[in-house]
Amino acid sequence: MRIGVVTFPGSLDDRDAQRAIRLAGAEPVALWHGTHDLQGVDAIVLPGGFSYGDYLRCGAIAARSPIMAEVIDAANSGMPVLGICNGFQILVEAHLLPGGLIRNDHGDFIRRDQRLRVESTDSAWTNGFTAGQEITIPLKNGEGGFIADEPTLDRLEGEGLVAFRYLDVNPNGSLRDIAGLRNERGNVVGLMPHPEHAVEPGFGPNTPAAMRSGVDGLTFFTSVIKQSVLS
């Protein structure tokens, strides 16, 4: 399976995402924002970072970059697309997921190993988890507060589109503790925390077993590989 990772000006975690894809057993393909070429990939990751300096709003300019026309078409045709942190913001700005992301309610950039509850396993990127599973992956953002109006929030809850919820601490004031979403079809998933930073023993979050041994993020990438094999 070939999974593309789009590099925008200001992308920070594109190489980490490529590494995570390789560790999960797929072939990472570097994609460039300024082209219209998806290079025939089977799935796409929009990585974390500060695309175009976030000068307009986080993800707003990236959502209108050349390659996003193809990414939006592919997503609407059912191709798996994962947006991580700035990638989540890009998905929201591209209207592939609802709502908006605003500055953290406490005003500070935050980084921590974040516990999450997996709320939906019915997606290309979460099918390897069990419903209600609690996982720990790193979080680092300054504008991660998820908001939407009440009818939208009620619809997201009612249709089971909340993919992840913050546990223990709500790190940014996200409404209803929402950390990540999936679309109705289940091929598009976006979240603020970073699964690609918890894929390799020695470099992930601490666990009760050993320091830095957490690899909960790997399941995102093995999930999409498993789905591609089965479909």
Binding site: L56, R57, A60, R64, V92, E93, P98, G99, G100, I102, R103, N104, D105, H106, G107, I147, A148, D149, G173
Partner: protein
């Protein structure tokens, strides 16, 4: 050069941490009468040629589609720079355009 001004503000019901921080600083400086500060954005679109109704309409569209995100922001104004809507003191006090 003819200029279209677009003003965007965070929605009134949203917390504006940047504005809040500035309000806190003003209070510390003794300006207790300034109860709240909210920080928005002003875009100046410099255009070639005359600004007609069609171009203003285009700017209105851009303001709604790209310059603002309707989930979190309101477009307060789209107008020609120097017009009455551009506020008191426009172009005075050495302001360069």
């Amino acid at each position: 050069m003819p200029t279209i001004v677009v003003e965007v503000m965070p929605k009134a019901e949203l917390l504006d941490p940047a504005g809040k921080a500035v309000a806190g600083a003003l209070h510390r400086l003794g300006h207790e009468s300034i109860r709240d500060v909210r920080i928005g954005k002003r875009f100046e679109l410099h255009v070639d040629g005359e600004i007609d109704a069609a171009l203003l309409e285009t700017a209105q569209q851009l303001a709604a589609d790209m310059l603002s995100n309707g989930v979190i922001e309101d477009v307060i104004s789209v107008h020609v720079s120097g017009s009455a809507a551009d506020g008191v003191g426009e172009g005075v006090a050495g302001e360069t355009r």
